[in-house]
């Protein structure tokens, strides 16, 4: 794989606070890569280090195999779209977009042509003479994107670009972003705290927590094979059940046991998604009790108790099927194939 961005053993601290803790990561050229994590996980800081806003206390950052660790932001040719867009209110849309080209001392005619082209690309050609304040949130977002793309950066950095948009626009913009990235073919790093955003656009995701990378992989790999409780809980909803893997390869928890062949013996937990548990009449599987029930439309969400463990179970809703009332004894089946064993 050709590396577009390489982060090698990078640490960064702010005062005594270690924000980034020995992170190493390779991002392929042309890849759409996401940093996913809760607030305070260090994902934005890591993005800013790639852009040059801050110098790592140790480690190197390479862009197209060139060490940029100590280059100032203005010499990196890395394009960053800021969370609040950071459009300059005193300039028109066209002036905003032309700014980076003017810094690169391009001839006037070429600047005009490129600004025109990129505004067409994001569908805002007729807004060139407006001020940012006269645009909607989604339009401002596109201008910010155009302003960054027009300089043809080696890497595109997106800092929570959809967080200021309403739900409907988010979904639209995110597929547009993906299409645009495919068309331009630019290495892209996308920071978000929203797993749905990351899953829907990214080729690969790095999950961050407390300044460390928890796991790197494709969205499906992360969802199906979380490496830790944190990843299992952060991507989607997961039931986490503590127990022990015994020598015979069975996972034993309070009230039930499960085949966990291949897992090493010792204390462990399993993670099961709510939709991977089936609920039937009492006597058909593990004995359980319904403690709560919510009808959510497409599914009925049960809270059930097995021994000391409380589990969330989603049962797809069918017409005219009456759900189990609270207090009912039920039988529960957990498919070992769908359960991930965690340390």
């Amino acid at each position: 794989m050709t590396r577009g961005v390489a982060i090698e053993r990078v640490s960064f601290s702010y005062g005594d606070n270690l924000i980034i803790d020995n992170v190493s990561l390779d991002i392929a050229k042309g890849e759409f890569f996401a940093f996913l994590g809760p607030s305070g996980s260090g994902k934005t800081t890591l993005l800013r280090l790639i852009a040059g806003f801050g110098i790592p206390s140790s480690g190197r950052i390479l862009i197209d195999e060139k060490d940029v660790t100590h280059l100032p932001p203005w010499s990196r040719n890395v394009g960053m779209v800021f969370q609040n867009y950071a459009l300059w209110p005193h300039m028109t849309v066209a002036k905003n977009v032309a700014f980076g080209l003017e810094r690169r001392r391009l001839p006037k005619a070429e600047i005009r042509r490129k600004v025109d082209d990129v505004l067409h690309l994001v569908g805002l050609a007729e807004f060139a003479d407006r001020r940012p304040a006269q645009l909607s949130g989604g339009q401002q977002q596109r201008v910010a994107l155009a302003r960054t793309l027009v300089i043809e950066p080696t890497v595109l950095l997106l800092d929570e670009p959809l967080s200021n948009l309403d739900a409907k626009l988010r979904v639209e913009m995110r597929s547009e972003l993906r299409q645009l990235q495919q068309k331009v073919g630019i290495t892209t790093v996308y920071v978000t705290h929203d797993q749905e955003d990351a899953n829907s656009v990214a080729d690969r995701i790095a999950v961050l927590d407390r300044g460390r990378i928890q796991q790197v992989g494709t969205p499906i790999a992360l969802y199906d094979h979380p490496a830790s409780r944190f990843v299992a809980g952060f991507l989607g909803t997961a039931n986490m059940i503590d127990g022990e893997v015994q020598k015979d390869g069975r996972f034993v928890a309070d009230g039930f046991s499960l085949d966990a062949a291949g897992a090493p013996a010792g204390r462990a937990a399993i993670s099961v998604r709510p939709q991977d548990i089936t609920v039937g009449p009492a006597g058909t599987g593990i004995g359980a009790t319904v403690t709560n029930r919510e009808f959510l439309g497409s599914v009925t969400r049960y809270r059930i108790r097995i021994g000391n463990n409380a589990l969330t179970v989603d049962v797809p809703h069918r017409r005219d099927v009456t759900p189990y009332p609270v207090g009912t004894e039920v039988g529960v089946v957990i498919d070992p194939q769908q359960a991930a064993v965690l340390r």
Partner: protein, 580 residues
Amino acid sequence: MSTATITTGRAPRFSLAARYGASVPQVAAMIVVAVFLLAFLVIPIVRVFMVAFTHPEGGFSLVHFGDFFRTNLLRQAFWNSLYVAAITVVVASLIAVPLATILSRFRFRGAALIHTLGVVPLVMPPFVGAVAMQLIYGRNGTINLLMMDWFGFRIPFMEGLNGVIFVEALHYFPFILLNLSASLANIDSAMEESAQNLGAHGFTLFLRIVFPLALPGYVAGAALVFVKVFDDLATPLLLNVSNMLAPQAYLKITSVGISDPMGYVISVIMVVCSVGGLALSGLFLRGRDFSTQQRGGGGLSQRELRRSGRIAAAVFVVVAVALALSPHIGIFLLSVGTVWSYAVLPDAYTFAHYETIYREAGPLISNTVLYCGLAGVADVVLGATVAYIVLRTRLPGRRLVEQVAMSAVAIPGLVLGIGLLRTYYDVTLPFSGESLATFWVMLVIAYAVRRLPYALSAATAALRQVHLSLEEAAESLGAGKFTTLTRVVVPLMTGGLLAGFVTSFATAAVELSATLMLVAKQADAPLAYGIYVYMQSAAGRGPGAALGVIAVVVVAIATFVSYRIAEHERNLKARVGAFT
């Protein structure tokens, strides 16, 4: 449906309410305010204009303006006033712009303290410090005596117009500092980072991004300085500079008489320049309120300075703060010194001046408290009324009333004084036969008109904070309009109104331009007038300075109190805000 039956019973009143959202008392209140503004602001100013444009034999004429520009002295006064105001803006900028940049941009200890110190000069009106400044920076003042000793030359800080410029610049630079600092603090750091990301740095970054974004704050501050300096009467008078517009108008009216048209012509020119200055800045600022268009905020990213930069910045800050404080230090030394003349410092120290003041100045202080207290109360009542009418009713003409009230900002105190004098000179009071224009109540009225814009802004801000739903909640629980007003609206506005009162009171206490025109006899004189009179004689400087110190302390306490009230209100609102 039952309500419909009830309303038909008092249809006339309700139709008024339905059409304008106003009741009879509200209409009455607006009429009272309108009459007050008409009588004490609009008519006096119109009178000034009429006199200036009336031919000696009657009829409209520009003949007086012709005379004005044909008279060498007046033409010179006009240019001097423009020159002094413009150069003061330049000098004030030379202090304020680097200070604001250093304070907002670089991390170093004591920045907050310097911000506070920078506001100190505003606490004292410029004329109070003028004499002390002569003693420090004058030809034979502290600095020049030391310079002569050490280097063998003098710097003419205080010669002629220089003195006015220097005193005004030291006094008013905080207007630029405060506005520019606010502008800089509002710049979102992402504004700068995005430019760096696209390849800009250093001077280009400053010129293309930081400067344009901070410019609105600078222009607002600079316009304020220009207008204030253009209007100032007492500072040039105390520095013996009479060839400027304000002193000329004053001298014409007081020495030639209130019928001399030249005083009115000068007044008209002053109003035009003042309004013009504010209008120009307003035009420039239109559509440039960038602070509301930036989402992040939080100010520019601060940087560590290199050693050499740190030293340079520290030296600049120390010099600027020393300059800003020098009028205060000077006035204090003057108030406790025996003789201070041709010397670096006073010869000896004494409390005698404070004793003199204690014996003589009682009426000055009680007059000030009475006048400014009444003016403050009037402003709060008028301001709250106008704010309520504008925000809560749809009465026709309410915007006009608000604009007229706010327009007092652009009217120089001197011009208002002349207008009031001219309009009410021939109106005599019953019993005493005294002229209404020189009756002490006229001072209260002049202060109230001059400070109304401050009180109105404070009241409008306070009322904006009272959400309409709070009133509707009271009404739905059965409270009538009046009960809602007294039990809900006014209590919620108290903090803002109190801050408005204190501001009006404190700034009126040091108002001199209008005072000089309207004080007829010593017994009616307030503090500012007393300081001015004392300062004019060499023997009176000590007691004058002592009075000045008292005025500074009073205004400082008032400013501090209003600041605390505002802060308390903000905290309270923030807490309530958390629940809504």
